[in-house]
Amino acid sequence: MYGSASTHDIPASAATGLENEDPILLAEFEARIARGEKIEPRDWMPALYRKQLIRMIEQHAHSEIIGSLPEGTWITRAPGFRRKMAQMAKVQDEVGHAQLLYSAAETLGKTREQMLSDLINGKSKYSNVFNYPALTWADSNVISWLIDAGAIVNQMANAKGSYGPYCRALERICAEESFHLKYGHDAVVHLATGTPTQRRMIQEALNRWWPPIMTFFGPSDKMSVHTEILMRWKVKMASNDHCRQQFLDMYVPKIWELGLTVPDAKLRKNEDGVWEFTEPDWEDFKRVINGDGPCNAERLAVRRAAEENGAWVRRALLSPKAKYVKPLA
């Protein structure tokens, strides 16, 4: 899973550093992207391209790992053996996605060790939605369906991006996501078409998750600083608002057909086919992403405990002759 953890974008004030790049190499690089060819790790690339891609792929990887935690806690309590097995398979997929993505980011020159350290130290971000709790089994179902649906919108767009290793990883990831989406939808439909108690349960979970879901794709384009160069380099493939509109268009009707309501009185599709909604509380989003959410501390603590508890195994296995080489592709 994946969403815009924060703004992917270059702060308007920050220098792009492009004036320091070799103009001939830069022109060749841009021409390659313009004719639809992918960039591979050994190609020349502008420092800004490398930096933005590392940040984006690394955040995506962290989101997969941290994102597996809220659903992971429900494996043992999932109703019935079959659901436990399916929930476990999904969580295992998500952790596998993180592995693929860390490797893709690593080809750009940041080691996996450094990325994992930065996650635990709070230096790098992950999708902000995972700073909220999955209070009930129904919350877990809403995550499986709608957060994964959001992730798919993002991932399908990014799979058309310009960086080869990221595209290869996303191709595998997208193939697995189709199971997540169907699994999540099935679980939500089961509750929504069940007893009045089950219906209430899923409606309440949806009410809790709707505000975070609306922030999943990141701040509105109006507030975003310029992303033009990242679009041209095919790092960012679709604007935040574009992804949000696509998500609403695909999933609001599927929510409504179950007789569920969306907790936003303003939500509607206008005559121009554009979804209108209450602007999410971006100040609150900022507060939570900067550490003050209900689960931030817990998510990192779990990750850190896993890291520390496994350290002796890694130490015991490490060969003294081992030499670090970054992965090829």
């Binding site: 390659r32 060819e37 992918k38 591979e40 050994r42 806690t73 097995m85 399916a86 398979a89 295992q92 997929d93 592995q99 693929l100 490797s103 690593e106 080691t111 060790e113 450094q114 350290s117 635990i120 130290n121 709070g122 709790p133 999955a134 080869g164 290869r168 990883a169 595998r172 193939a175 199971f179 989406l181 169907k182 699994y183 939808h185 099935d186 439909v189 089961h190 078409t193 057909e257 179950l258 007789g259 003050d292 959410g293 209900p294 501390a297 817990e298 603590a301 779990v302 850190r304 405990a305 890694r314 296995l317 490490l318 060969s319 030499k323 670090y324 080489v325 992965p327 090829l328 592709a329």
Partner: protein
């Protein structure tokens, strides 16, 4: 703002509220990298699937199997240390990177499938088999095109040019000494068969449309349409 935890690990581990940030991990904490190739179907060429981190080649094979065959059809796996792969420059999507290599006058000698007395002599003379992989398009995966026999990786690349150099397009070539690749065993083929009891992790196992239609039909009976 915080919340009493729903994660059983938190309560069990009695984690402190705000521990000091841990020191950065040492550089090789996650081990070396290995590159993994899989065979999707019997009789098809092995293709690159991605890297894994592991403490040894054997463990890399296990991790590779877990990471790359758990969810996708697979009938064989090859694993090699990243450092064992010789990589040429990358060309454009259209041409062949072989064209940029200095041309040598070399007799093509594709490595034979079984060893004759002649081959045994070649091995004695310091020649070895090398596996050759081509990338046909940027963003896609390298695929195995065959083996050559040579006395060094550089000679192997020259041999590859002589044997496979006519192919188009070739964006990039990987050369790996065959002895550096750990290969799944033909006799262990049953490790690739997946149990039919795992249908629950396929999208196809979830058919909700009937349930939704039934729900809608029942509900429209109860609430007459205006």
């Amino acid at each position: 703002m915080s919340l009493s935890s729903l994660d059983p690990r938190i309560a069990r581990l009695a984690l402190p509220d705000s521990p000091p940030p841990p020191p950065d991990k040492p550089e090789l904490d996650q081990f070396e990298t290995y590159e993994v190739f899989h065979q999707k179907k019997e009789g098809t060429a092995y293709a690159y699937v991605g890297p894994v981190h592991a403490p040894s080649l054997d463990v890399a094979f296990l991790f590779g199997k877990e990471q790359y065959s758990r969810r996708f059809a697979c009938t064989g796996l090859w694993v090699t240390p990243t450092s064992a792969v010789q990589v040429t420059a990358y060309g454009d999507d259209a041409g062949s990177i072989y064209d940029t290599l200095p041309g040598g006058q070399i007799e093509p000698t594709e490595a034979p499938l079984s060893e004759s007395a002649e081959e045994q002599a070649a091995y004695a003379a310091g020649e070895e088999d090398y596996d050759i992989f081509h990338l046909k398009k940027r963003g896609k995966a390298h695929a195995h095109v065959g083996k050559v026999r040579a006395s060094s990786p550089a000679m192997a690349l020259q041999q590859a040019k002589a044997v496979f150099g006519e192919q188009r397009p070739v964006v990039n070539v990987w050369v790996i000494r065959s002895a550096d690749i750990l290969r799944s065993d033909e006799d262990d083929r049953d490790i690739w068969s997946t149990t039919p009891e795992k249908k629950y992790r396929e999208a196809l196992a979830y058919k909700v449309q009937d349930k939704i239609e039934r729900f809608k039909a029942e509900n429209s009976e109860n609430t007459p349409q205006a």
